[in-house]
């Protein structure tokens, strides 16, 4: 195989966090994921791959790096989960850094490779296990971690405070009244037909987009409401770290709001 050579990039979410880890803690995280959380398909997938290379041409990372075989999906599996299995989980911090780089920046988990694999090996699943291991260790790109920390405590991706959310919607309502007479945006309205959840960016940086979507909702005459508590942001950035705990907390919150307001359905923007 061609040598794994990459331009050096530093990210405090990976480089600095590794400073706080030791190999014992790394082993514990690997054991948790591979022996307690992974399904039998992990072993089957790893043992089934015959390195035929059919997955290579399906991967946009491979194609956009001029066919560098170290970007081929099968190679990325071999260099990450394959390496972990081969070393029985006794890996170094430098190994984790390499795994994180591959799992977070050289595979989007699009699963196009899986569509072309003659055995149907779910390569996205295998790489996602690597993200999960890194996620448990807190090793992930800084921007992802920032948004996940926000989700953990605020249920939105951008640290929006509760009053900022409410005030933003009230301000948008004021603005909309220049275009729609008596525009009224319901917040926390019980027994509506629709609970509208939005993208966190739309509330903080892309309010004109949100305004347009609310305009459509108002003009269409549907009976809808936005949440009046945390849980209005449907994004769930924790999926990128495979932080299942935060993922379930955020999703649970959406359903709790929907059932508390007893809406008939949830609609999301974008």
């Amino acid at each position: 195989m061609k040598e794994f050579k990459r331009e050096i990039i530093t990210d405090i979410g990976i480089d600095r966090v590794l400073d706080f880890l030791d190999e014992k803690r790394i082993k514990r995280a690997i054991d948790r994921v591979l022996s307690k959380e992974s399904a039998a398909r992990l072993k089957a997938f790893v043992q089934t791959c015959v390195h035929c290379g059919l997955c290579s041409e399906t991967c946009h990372h491979y194609l956009s790096h001029d066919g560098d075989p170290t970007y081929a999906p099968a190679a990325k599996v071999k260099m990450t989960i394959g390496d972990i299995l081969e070393k029985d989980g006794n890996v170094t911090k430098e190994d984790i850094k390499r795994y994180a780089r591959i799992a977070f920046t050289e595979c989007n988990l699009c699963r196009r490779c899986t569509m072309f694999c003659p055995f149907g090996i779910d390569i996205g699943y295998l790489i996602s296990l690597v993200r999960r291991i890194c996620g448990i260790l807190g090793v992930a790109p800084q921007f992802i971690q920032d948004q996940v920390y926000s989700h953990m405590s605020c249920y939105n991706m951008l640290w929006l405070k509760q009053d900022e959310w409410l005030d933003t919607i009230q301000w948008i309502e004021d603005e909309l009244r220049y275009e729609i007479k008596n525009a009224r945006i319901p917040i926390g309205k019980k027994d509506s037909d629709i609970l509208l959840l939005i993208h966190g960016l739309e509330a903080k940086y892309m309010t004109p987009l949100l305004m347009n979507m609310l305009k459509i909702m108002l003009v269409s005459g549907v009976d809808f409401t936005l949440p009046d508590i945390d849980g209005w942001d449907y994004t769930n950035k924790s999926i990128y770290m495979h932080d299942f705990e935060t993922m379930t907390m955020v999703t649970k919150r959406h359903y709790e709001i929907a059932t508390k307001l007893r809406v008939k359905r949830i609609v999301i923007t974008e």
Binding site: G13, D146, S153, K161, Q162, D163, Q170, K189, E245, K264
Partner: protein
């Protein structure tokens, strides 16, 4: 929450004409008082002057905005209002003396005597209780919790003001719980699921640590064990705390940090306790997409594919009722017996004081109906509020809107269920 109502059960009916509301270009957020005597709504005129309309009369004050309009159990009408750019709380049209840059999360305790809001002053966050602001402010305050008796109040607070992207400091934890102005002396990645003991003296919450493990904190003291994940705790009595926790055998029920039920489930959450009898009900998944209720460790035989909402105990703690959604259809189940009800939407079941009857409001074909013991009352409404049983369980108070009229009706239950 057990409400205390002072209701006239003899005066069988009353109507309020809503036609005059057509004089307002905009009206929204209908609320009916617990005794059914009053109906209120926020109204705006052409100049965007906003106030509250109650049984045909408006408050004297006008505001820029009126939010969180609601009746307390003692039939007072409360809301948050913005006047001259500042926000405060209005009670039956009378404003608190204190005003703030923003107020939200307006709440009250079980008897409605204690009213509180989250407040913002400048970039500082806190709580105001019965018009008395806490002296201590925080970098952020989220959600508000009042004990049933109103003796203690809590809010999640941010104790550090690290800037965005400062992940190495975020990892140290910066969230805590403030109870009556004083924050716990520990900081967490997150705090959630705040719950007071029945007497309000103790408070518990789920907490997440820097190493991404979870536990339960009670009055700031953390259980000895940590877990893969936890859900919201509840008090079994005034001392002992229950919580669903994720262990290596699945989701388990723990009490004070130790296993309470030895076996595990695919999921367990939405715990409810009958404190007098120390009975426990919760929602469990026995497998993916198989949701049901568990009472004192015994699961119901029926399971439901979509949703099982938090179980509700009868006042004597002997029965449990719950709203469910199965294969896209809403339903009610009482003590493991599903009703035959065929409707588009149902709300939470309500027990009569003796536990013998269960009432619920339901929607079918965009009309609202009262349902008691699986029997649908023939009269439909454009909207209904939750029904309320008389203390003897023989009558039910119905509050609804039909056309341009608000109706308050006291119905004899025997006429509905035969």
């Amino acid at each position: 929450m057990e409400m205390i109502f002072n209701i006239n059960w003899e005066n069988s009916s009353k109507t309020v004409d809503l036609f005059s509301l057509r004089n307002y270009p905009l009206f929204y957020d209908w609320v009916a008082s617990p005794d059914g005597e009053k109906i209120a709504v926020v109204v705006e005129n052409e100049n965007r002057e906003t106030t509250v309309w109650v049984n045909g009369k408006t408050w004297e004050n006008v505001f820029e905005r009126v939010c969180y309009l609601q009746f307390t159990p003692d039939n007072r009408l409360i809301c948050t209002v913005q006047k001259d750019g500042l926000w405060t709380v209005a009670i039956d049209g009378n404003l608190w003396e204190n005003s703030f840059d923003y107020v939200w999360n307006l709440q009250f305790n079980q008897d409605g005597k204690v009213i509180a809001v989250n407040v913002k002053v400048g970039n500082q966050y806190s709580v105001c209780v019965n018009d008395k602001p806490w002296q201590k402010f925080f970098y952020d305050a989220r959600d508000l919790f009042i004990s049933d008796k109103g003796n203690n109040i809590a809010t999640y607070v941010r104790l550090e003001n690290y800037p965005v992207l400062d992940i190495l400091n975020f990892a140290k934890g910066m969230w805590s719980l403030a109870v009556n102005e004083s924050a716990w002396d520990k900081k967490f990645i997150s705090v959630f699921g705040c719950a007071f003991s029945p007497n309000g003296e103790k408070v518990a919450a789920g907490v997440r640590f820097s190493n991404r493990e979870f536990s339960i904190a009670v009055d700031g003291n953390i259980w000895e064990s940590t877990f893969l994940q936890v859900w919201e705790p509840v008090f079994l009595n005034n001392v002992d705390v229950l919580a669903p926790v994720k262990t290596e055998i699945g989701w388990q029920l723990y009490c004070n940090g130790r296993p309470f039920w030895e076996y595990g489930f695919t999921q367990i959450w939405n715990l409810r306790v009958h404190p007098a009898k120390e009975k426990i009900a919760g929602v469990i998944a026995t497998d993916l997409g198989k949701w049901t209720v568990i009472v004192n460790g015994t699961p119901w035989k029926y399971s439901f594919s979509d949703l099982v909402l938090p179980p509700i105990f009868s006042p004597d703690g002997e029965k449990v009722a719950v709203a469910v959604k199965d294969k896209g259809k809403w339903g009610i189940v009482v003590d493991d017996e599903p009703w035959s009800l065929d409707v588009d939407r149902v709300w939470d079941p309500i027990f009569s004081p003796d536990g013998e009857k269960v009432a619920v409001r339901a929607e079918k074909g965009n009309k609202y109906f009262l349902v008691i013991n699986d029997k649908i009352h023939k009269e439909s409404f454009d909207y209904l509020w939750d029904p309320i049983f008389s203390p003897d369980g023989e009558k039910v108070l119905l509050r609804g809107i039909k056309g341009n009229t608000y109706y308050r009706k006291v119905l004899k239950i025997e006429k509905i269920i035969g």
